[in-house]
Subunit: 210 residues, 2 copies
DNA sequence: TAGATTGTTAATCGATTAACAATC
DNA sequence: TAGATTGTTAATCGATTAACAATC
C-alpha cells in the first residue's frame, strides 16, 4: 500500500487530511473532488492529488474520491487501525492532563500506566491508575506490550529515561521534554516542544512591528 | 534588525537555536563557530549561517559567534524581551496544566486569567486564579491588555471563542483545539494539534512494517 | 458519448548545500 | 601576516504548482 520513503512534509499533512475527511463524513458527504477539498483546506488541488498518489490511487477519474474510503485508507496509513499501548512518564500537570485526556482511546491509543520518580506522588492515583516508580519502568514495558512512551518530565530526567526506553527497544517516544533526544534510528521520536511553539507565536506577533 | 518576510521554515528553526545557545551559555561557552554548532545540532553549517544572516551579521570572520550576544539577539527576534499577557480559555485538564506550568513566566509570558463556559467549574480556583465565565471574556481582554489567548477547549467552542477574540483584536491565538481557525491575517495563530502529532508518531512506527 | 476529474509528467519555485572571496 | 571563519553568491536538490493525457 505504501511507497518507500515518503517525505516528512507529506507525512505531516496526513493528519490534517484525516481531520477534514472526518468532518466531511460527519457532514454526510459521500464524495469529494480534489478541487472542492482544496477550497476547504486552503491548499492546491495539485498538492492533494500528489499527496494521495504517494500511497496509490484512491480516486476515480470523473468522480473524485469516496469520502468514507479515503478516510479509512488514510487512517490505515497512519496506523490508526492498530492498537497502541502507552505509558506516561512524568506525572506532573501535563502528564496527568494527557492521562485524563481520553479522546486518544477512540483512535486506538490506550494509556496503560503512569510513572514518576518523585516519591511524594508515587502511589497516588490518576484516572484509576496508581502512579508507579520509574525504577520499575523496564519490566512494565515488557510485560504490558508497551509500544509508546510519553515523556512529560524535565529534560534531565528525559535524557535518562530515554536510555532506559532504548534498552527496552520501545517503538516510539512522544517527547514533551524541552530537549532533543539522541536515540538510534530504529526508535521513532515525535517532539512536542510547547515552548518552541509559543516562541514562534511571539515571533509572528512582533514580526511586523517596526 | 529584521528582514521582511522571513520564510516559515527559518522561523520554525529559531527556537531550537535559542535552546542550544542557552545550553551553551549554561555550559560556559563564550564563542561558537557555525561548524561546531552544526555538529551539536545535526544541521549543516551553511544552513546556520544562512539562517542567522536573514537578521543581519551576528558573527565575526575568523572568530565565530559570541554565544551570549547571539542568544540575546535571537531572544529579541523571538520577542522574548517583551512582556506578554495571556489568558487561558478552557479550564479542563490541559488548560489547568498550562496554567500551572509556569516556566513560561521566565520568558515573559504571564497568565492573567482563566475562563470556562461550564458553570460547574466557574468560580473554582486554579493557581490562585478564579475561573471566570467566558461571557466576560471581551471586557477582561481590554482591561488587562491581554495579547495572547490560549485555546484549550473543544473545537465547537473554539470556533465561537475565536470570533470573540477577533472582535477584541487580540494579537495571537495559541490554539490547542482540534480544528483550524479562520481569522483575519492580522491575527496570528499558532496551532498545537496534539492528536496530529500522535498520528505522525503512529505513522512512523508502522512505516517500515510491511 | 461528453463532461468531469484523476493520475502523472513537466515546469516552476523555493530551500538547502557547496564554494569561496571578504575580513577579522 | 597566516589561519580561521564568516557573509554571500552560485549550484543543487526537493517540493509545489501547472498542465494535460488517461479514463471513469
Amino acid at each position: 500500500m505504501q511507497d518507500k520513503n515518503i517525505s516528512q512534509v507529506v507525512i505531516s499533512r496526513l493528519p490534517r487530511y484525516f481531520r477534514y475527511l472526518g468532518d466531511l463524513k460527519d457532514e454526510g458527504f459521500e464524495r469529494i473532488s480534489s478541487g472542492e477539498l482544496s477550497k476547504r483546506m486552503n491548499v492546491t488541488a495539485s498538492q492533494i492529488r500528489q499527496d494521495f498518489n504517494h500511497f496509490g490511487g484512491f480516486g476515480q477519474q470523473g468522480y473524485g474520491y469516496n469520502v468514507n474510503y479515503l478516510y479509512e485508507e488514510i487512517g490505515k496509513i497512519l496506523g490508526l487501525d492498530k492498537r497502541h499501548n502507552l505509558i506516561i512518564v512524568g506525572a506532573g500537570n501535563l502528564g496527568q492532563a494527557l492521562a485524563n485526556y481520553m479522546n486518544f482511546e477512540k483512535r486506538g491509543f490506550f494509556v496503560k500506566g503512569i510513572f514518576d520518580c518523585n516519591s511524594e506522588i508515587i502511589g497516588k492515583k490518576v484516572r484509576g491508575m496508581t502512579i508507579m516508580d520509574t525504577k520499575d519502568l523496564a519490566p512494565f514495558i515488557k510485560e504490558n506490550n508497551i509500544d509508546i512512551a510519553v515523556l512529560t518530565l524535565p529534560k534531565q530526567g528525559a535524557v535518562e529515561i530515554a536510555k532506559t526506553l532504548v534498552s527496552c527497544n520501545i517503538s516510539g517516544i512522544w517527547n514533551f521534554a524541552h530537549c532533543d533526544l539522541e536515540v538510534p534510528d530504529s526508535i521513532n521520536v515525535e517532539n512536542v516542544h510547547l515552548s518552541d511553539s509559543l516562541m514562534k507565536l511571539s515571533f509572528k506577533i512582533h514580526e511586523n512591528e517596526n
